[in-house]
């Protein structure tokens, strides 16, 4: 191994380690984490929006062929600006993907399992919810909207 190779290898290692340290800092320090294994919430059969306190909500999203059920069949819900929402996701049938656009909420909906992430809606506006996993012929028309005012 000549000198140039050694320098190149060292730089590559430093760069990759640097990236990894930043990722871990963002996850554990800034609490921007990804879904983990949920064992204490069972998969639900219906969407539900529960208000726990002022601007503190729990949202159960049921993805199904071919809509998002946010609250007893409703595909649209309203939330006040600044709401902190614990969002749980499951699927009634096949695999769906739940992406609340303009947020970091991006979780797969897999039947028999529950996915979870917390979202804070800091800006008013319409947050489109898009299904991004192929779930059948109606996949491109999965309806879901969160209005924050």
């Amino acid at each position: 191994m000549d000198r140039a190779e050694k320098i190149g290898l060292t730089l590559a290692l430093i760069m990759l380690l640097g990236f990894f340290v930043l990722v871990v800092y963002a996850a554990k320090g800034l609490k921007i984490d990804i879904p983990t294994c949920i064992t204490d919430v069972e998969p639900f059969q219906q969407g539900k929006l529960i208000k726990h306190a002022d601007k503190r909500y729990e949202l159960h999203i049921l993805a199904k062929m071919w809509l998002f059920d946010f609250n007893e069949g409703a595909t649209q819900i309203k939330l006040p600006v600044g709401s902190v929402v614990d969002v749980y996701v499951t699927s009634k049938d096949v695999v769906h993907g739940v992406h609340i656009n303009d947020t970091n909420f991006n979780v797969m909906a897999i039947p028999g399992t529950v996915g979870y992430l917390r979202v804070k809606f800091e800006k008013p506006g319409v947050y489109h919810v898009v299904c991004h996993e192929f779930c059948g012929v109606g996949h491109h028309a999965m309806e879901g909207k969160i209005v924050v005012e």
């Binding site: 140039a4 190149g8 990236f19 990894f20 963002a26 294994c37 299904c131 491109h140 028309a141």
Partner: protein, 583 residues
């Protein structure tokens, strides 16, 4: 080295058949961009549904084309490097399994019985011929490795006990060892989960377990596509640049291959960062290993650049002291000798540079939340498998058919234009996809022209229009580039033979070379790779099989929002109803 008869036919068909199939694969690629942008506002076009076409695009391009071409290319490489003939019987068995499997799966896809995309996530289920065809294809691709190349390599080693195995064979063997290991989990998924469900032997499936087994295979497989291109970068590219060209370092190349063997497998969870049911500590560990597998690509980037520099400078001694100016003297558009192949490699390398960096973004754990399943992801992998891999395969395919046909490459000028045009198209397409996905959340795998990019739809998202338009421009340019490539390809294939049929490769010697017994001990590295893969997968598989999944799911087909069983029962009760649904 002369080839004739059956072996010549088999290798030739393992190159021609996948490229002919690509005509369908790339046609559906062009159709995708038109549908997605709303240029075609329909469920289907010419009898093929959007999602059916997407399945064909994915399965043909990255499962069938890659696998069969890699077997053909590797057959030729191993045969020439070891100077040992191949066994006809073994090759015929492999050929029949691969072609037979392909035809089975193709029937299911073309008849609309397997619209499940190339990831075939249950509980969506396809016709059993799709799964059995896939199993036959991958098992057939292993036959030459075990029954032809390994015996030949053992015999070679006996005759040359003091030499290390040629680098081309070393890289090919690492690739097929990886391929063998990664096939185990996906074979378990297909044979024990999907096939029984498809045949109606069982009623339910654990979809998360199936996904986890799939991605145990589904990420390493990208290295199965990539490593043959790396073999060509290391062993052939220096000789394309200059007849006196050399590989910068042989041990560095072997180190890169060994690192791929170890780190390619424990990384699949980075496709499941957003999946429920799997503890995120294990996702983080897989993220770390994914960063590890970036290392051999960085080593390769160094060694390839150094080999290019050496090979240019040996031809242009006046550039001896130049730091960057030598880049201007690479054979970007020269026809003599093998230099016509350089545009393929160069276009591929540029794209792979982008593919590597964007891949690190995907692998970055929480950063993945921004890009997961958006158009960013296909934007990324079209620069890897649709970049370096495809460009090197196109170049080598043309080179090999000329040798096997005993003729010269026809229309070399067109052959040199096509990779540059592809590079331009791919840059425009992947840029549009990546930015649209990253900034605006434009989803992948979605017929967005019907809803999101349809001004008459309540789902209309005007902010995605510009990205969609550029993806069309890029996609159409790539389609044209492929058509241009087909001209020299078929002209060479159909040209009369003027010389004898041969297989030969311009293997470069190494500039730095030394014995590296530790690196060459593939047995030890294989054991290490298996141990690491198993250890890194026991906890997530336990999560997916037991902890994270509350109940199993019945099968569905893509057309109806009720389980398949229920659908079949209600059809039986009303025999006079609509078409009988069978899968």
């Amino acid at each position: 080295m002369r080839v004739e008869g059956a072996i010549r036919f088999i290798i030739l068909s393992e190159i021609v058949f996948p490229i002919v199939l690509l005509i369908f694969g790339i046609y559906h690629g062009v159709m995708q961009v038109l549908y997605r942008a709303g240029f075609i506002k329909a469920e289907s076009f010419l009898g093929i549904d959007y999602y059916q076409g997407l399945t064909l695009h994915g399965v043909i391009n990255v499962i069938v084309f890659t696998t069969i071409f890699i077997v053909g290319f590797s057959n030729a490489l191993v045969m020439y490097a070891l100077k040992k003939p191949l066994r006809e019987k073994v090759q015929w068995i492999a050929w029949a399994m691969m072609i037979g499997g392909t035809l089975m799966a193709a029937w299911a896809m073309f008849t609309g019985r397997a619209t499940v995309l190339y990831t075939f996530y249950p509980p969506l289920i396809a016709h059993w011929t799709f799964y059995l065809g896939a199993v036959l294809l991958v098992l057939g691709s292993l036959v030459p490795f075990f029954f032809d190349w390994i015996p030949n390599a053992i015999a070679w080693k006996r005759e040359n006990p003091d030499q290390k195995i040629p680098l081309a064979v070393f890289g090919t063997f690492v690739n097929f060892i990886l391929w063998t290991i990664m096939i185990v989990p996906v074979a378990v998924e297909i044979l024990f989960q999907l096939l029984p469900l498809s045949l109606g032997l069982v009623d339910e499936i654990n979809p998360l377990l199936a996904r986890t087994l799939f991605w145990f295979f589904g990420h390493p497989v990208v290295y199965f596509w990539l490593l043959p291109a790396y073999v060509a970068l290391y062993t052939i590219l220096p000789k394309i640049v200059s007849e006196k060209g050399k590989l910068y370092s042989d041990p560095a190349a072997r180190l890169a291959f060994v690192l791929f063997l170890i780190f390619s497998l424990p990384v699949g969870l980075h496709h499941q960062f957003t999946d429920p049911g799997i503890t995120n500590t294990w996702k983080l560990i897989h993220a770390l290993f994914t960063f590890g597998v970036a290392l051999p690509s960085m080593i390769t980037a160094f060694t390839v650049a150094a080999s290019l520099e050496y090979s240019v400078k040996v031809e242009h001694p006046e550039l001896k002291d130049s730091k960057f100016y030598w880049w201007a003297f690479l054979p970007y558009f020269k026809m003599e000798g093998l230099k016509w192949l350089f545009p393929f490699f160069f276009s591929g390398l540029i794209l792979f540079f982008i593919g590597g960096i964007t891949g690190i973004i995907n692998a970055s754990y929480n950063v993945n939340l921004v890009v997961h399943n958006t158009a960013y992801v296909p934007g990324h992998f079209h620069t890897t498998v649709g970049g370096l891999v495809l460009m090197v395969f196109f170049g080598m395919a043309l080179y090999m058919i000329a040798k096997l046909k005993g003729t010269d490459v026809k229309f070399k000028g067109l052959a040199m234009i096509s990779p540059y045009l592809w590079l331009a198209g791919q840059m425009i397409f992947s840029n549009a996809m990546m930015i649209g996905g990253l900034l605006e959340g434009w989803p992948r795998r979605t017929n967005s022209g019907l809803t999101y990019l349809n001004p008459d739809s309540p789902f209309y998202r005007p902010d995605w229009e510009g990205y969609a338009l550029f993806s069309v421009i890029g996609g159409v340019i790539m389609g044209i580039a492929f058509l241009i490539y087909l001209v020299p390809f078929f002209a060479t294939l159909l040209a009369p033979s003027t010389k004898e049929s041969t297989i030969e490769f311009p293997f470069a010697e190494a500039y730095h070379d030394e014995p590296a017994p530790l690196l060459n001990n593939l047995r030890t590295w294989t054991v290490a790779a298996i141990v690491l893969a198993v250890l890194s997968y026991i906890p997530p598989l336990y999560d997916a099989a037991v902890r994270g999944v509350f109940f199993k799911s019945p099968a569905y087909i893509e057309k109806f929002p009720v389980p398949l069983k229920q659908l079949q029962q209600s059809k039986k009760e009303e025999p006079s109803g609509q078409e009988v649904v069978r899968r």
